[in-house]
């Protein structure tokens, strides 16, 4: 019997892997991918709660999340392309304009 905890633990581990990706990798594309991993982990827990609570709210939210994620990826990658054109790099460490 699968319990809610199963899904939540899965979601937690997946989320942590996403964070680890964000914090550890230099390549912005990978960072963006890690963000997607985090989105997915959240989706899992939302859907799981929704299922075990027999309500629809969580599922509806997953739909929204996916939409937002899609938008985010589109904009994020567009920014990435624009930045790359300017700076010829996709490495986070070389993008430290915010310091100034």
């Amino acid at each position: 019997m699968i319990t809610l905890s199963h899904y939540l633990i899965l979601s937690l581990i997946l989320f942590s892997i996403g964070i680890a990706g964000v914090l550890l990798r230099r390549n912005i594309i990978i960072v963006l991918m890690s963000l997607e991993l985090m989105f997915n982990s959240i989706n899992i827990s939302l859907a799981a709660f929704s299922h075990f609570l027999q309500s629809m709210t969580g599922r509806i939210f997953v739909v929204f999340t996916i939409t937002v994620a899609a938008a985010e990826v589109a904009v994020g990658l567009a920014i990435l392309v624009a930045v790359y054109r300017q700076r010829k790099t996709v490495y986070i460490e070389e993008l430290d304009e915010m310091k100034h």
Partner: protein
């Protein structure tokens, strides 16, 4: 109703002149003169009422001006013998001086302005006279200060006039500082500002004696300022920068007497505080002597008269202090006549000679017969020669001082009488007789000026008879009603009268000996005392250089230094510095590396969850 009319007619005139007739100079003067004459005519009715019934009941009218819980302030009028007397003095002398001014100020720049201010002054003065409560008297007290300021500074293009105006206002403010505090003390104790109500409470013994003492002294501060008593006497001589009619009306006859009037108004207060009365008496006596001595050594005709005014005011205040309230008021009345006369006559001389220095005059009696005669009559009255008005009033004061065992003050009074006689003689002889040192061709002033002189001279001569001790009812018994502690029956003391007459004659004789020669300059000028007096005992220098320049401005400079160097640097720039430095430190955390921020954020999440979620 009449009292309201009397009060507001001059104000209406002032407003009218300011807004309507400013361009038509003649019309302005007519409006102003008309207003004050109308006031005089209107005040005849109350005077007749008083003459018919010396024990008249005070007539009080008032409307509420401020009315909130705990504070009720009225604007009202109070007609009692005291205010009716003052009403008469102010409107009568005022009328004459207004008429005189029409001639004297002829051709001056700002003619309308002059008359507007004069009307404003009459309004304010009548406000003081008719006031039925302390707040109102304070209001008009300040307003006479304003009109005095405006009129002293009439020739505002002259720095000396501007300075004198400023000085007069500020010195008066210092006195008023005490005055208003005194009013507060009384209000605190009684809960009302109304004179009659306060008197009732006083009579019932509703106020502790120490409070009365403090209140009396503080209120006396107001009188010190306005009546130019020591140590605030310095403004009055400088106030002579104003046009001469102003000196006559405001700085001799009426406004400066307001302090004495105030003491009379609040006489019950002093009655219950003999200690305060002593202070009043000694300050008055000292001022009288000081001013008389200074007057001996002055060369400006107006200043001599100004110091004699100071001296007379000191006399009046002393009278109030030794318990001679009616005597003080009597002196005030006669003084108003002869001092106004002296100033106006002096103005007439100045008008003819275009100088104020008595050493540039001399031998003009032949040219200025009317002026000269009236001036001499005024001088005799001032010196207190029998039977001129000054004699009677002065005699009454001296008698009271003597009979109330104030022998020291009595001696001072006698001394002042002597010195007064001396310097008035000096003034008369140096100005009108002796060697002619003037330039140009002086001729007598127009009749618009001389007629008031003659009328005033008449009163200066005869007004004293109203106060002769052996007629009944005399001056004192009419106004004794509202006064307390100084009821009229002093009788006639032959010793006092004889002594004062003797010293006056001595003074005149001495003056005659010293000055009835063909003199070019003052024969006493080498004297040390003379020099000291000539420089007014250095009071002005002391106030200007020490009190104002060092202490007053010094505090200002210290505070300004603190402001610039402490408040601005510490509070303002200090905060800015703190912020900037904190920013510099915190800026190091801004590495610009995205992952640093993300790391900190996640760490923050861990900490938050740890604190709020798990623990």
């Amino acid at each position: 109703m009449v009292s309201w009319l009397i009060l507001f007619i001059p104000l209406i005139a002032a407003v009218l002149i300011t807004f309507v007739t400013r361009k038509q100079k003649d019309l302005s003067s007519y409006v102003s003169i008309g207003a004050v004459v109308l006031c005089f005519i209107l005040s005849i009715d109350p005077i007749l009422t008083l003459l018919k019934d010396p024990h008249m009941k005070p007539v009080e009218q008032g409307f509420s001006w401020i009315n909130i819980p705990g504070l009720h302030v009225e604007i009202g009028t109070l007609l009692d013998p005291l205010s009716i007397l003052m009403l008469f003095v102010v409107t009568f002398v005022g009328s004459l001086i207004h008429i005189y001014s029409r001639g004297y100020m002829h051709g001056e720049h700002g003619y309308s302005r002059f008359f507007a201010c004069m009307s404003l002054f009459i309004f304010s003065m009548l406000g003081i006279v008719l006031a039925n409560n302390f707040i109102q008297i304070y209001i008009f007290w300040e307003l006479v200060g304003l009109s005095s300021y405006l009129l002293i500074g009439y020739y505002f293009e002259k720095p000396s006039a501007s300075d004198a105006a400023k000085k007069a206002f500020l010195v008066n403010r210092v006195g008023d500082f005490g005055f208003i505090l005194g009013i507060f003390v009384l209000f605190q104790a009684t809960g009302t500002f109304n004179f009659i109500e306060i008197n009732h409470i006083l009579e019932k013994g509703g106020i502790p004696e120490s409070t009365i003492y403090i209140a009396a002294l503080l209120i006396f501060c107001g009188a010190i300022g306005k009546s130019a008593q020591f140590p605030l006497h310095v403004w009055l001589p400088d106030a002579m920068e104003g046009p001469t009619p102003v000196s006559a009306l405001i700085h001799a006859a009426t406004m400066v007497a307001a302090g004495v009037y105030l003491l009379a108004r609040t006489s019950l207060l002093y009655h219950f505080s003999p200690d305060a009365m002593e202070v009043v008496a000694y300050i008055g006596g000292f001022t009288a002597l000081l001013a008389a001595v200074i007057a001996v050594a002055q060369n400006d005709i107006k200043r001599v008269i100004a110091y004699s005014t100071l001296s007379s005011l000191g006399y009046m205040v002393m009278a109030m202090g030794v318990g001679g309230m009616t005597a003080g008021m009597f002196y005030l009345t006669t003084h108003a006549f002869f001092k106004a006369l002296l100033f106006l006559a002096a103005g007439s001389v100045i008008h003819a000679l275009h100088t104020q220095d008595i050493w540039e005059m001399g031998d003009v009696f032949k040219k200025l017969k009317t002026t000269g005669t009236t001036f001499i009559l005024g001088s005799l009255a001032m010196a207190g020669v029998f039977p001129f008005s000054g004699f009677w009033s002065k005699d009454e004061i001296l008698t009271i001082a003597f009979t109330s065992h104030h022998y020291f003050l009595f001696t001072i009074g006698i001394l002042v009488a002597f010195v007064s006689a001396f310097f008035m003689t000096r003034l008369v002889f140096v100005t009108f007789f002796g060697k002619g040192r003037y330039h140009g061709h002086p001729h007598e002033s127009p009749s618009v000026m001389t007629v008031p002189l003659v009328i005033l001279a008449f009163f200066a001569v005869v007004a004293g008879f109203a106060g002769m001790p052996w007629i009944e009812p005399n001056f004192g018994s009419y106004i004794a009603g509202p006064l307390h502690g100084g009821h009229g029956e002093h009788g006639f003391n032959l010793f006092v009268a004889g002594l004062s007459t003797a010293v006056v004659i001595a003074g005149i004789a001495l003056g005659y000996i010293v000055y009835c020669k063909e003199l070019k300059s003052d024969p006493l000028a080498k004297n040390v005392l003379y020099n000291l007096a000539h420089n007014k005992f250095y009071f002005d220098e002391f106030y200007d250089n020490i009190i104002v320049a060092k202490v007053y401005n010094g505090i200002g400079r210290i505070c300004n230094f603190a402001e610039v160097n402490f408040i601005i640097i510490f509070f303002v720039n200090g905060f800015a510095y703190l912020t900037r430095e904190t920013g510099k430190v915190l800026r190091l955390t801004t590495t610009g590396k995205l992952q640093h921020y993300a790391l900190v954020m996640v760490a923050g999440v861990v900490v938050l969850v740890l604190f709020f979620g798990v623990l």
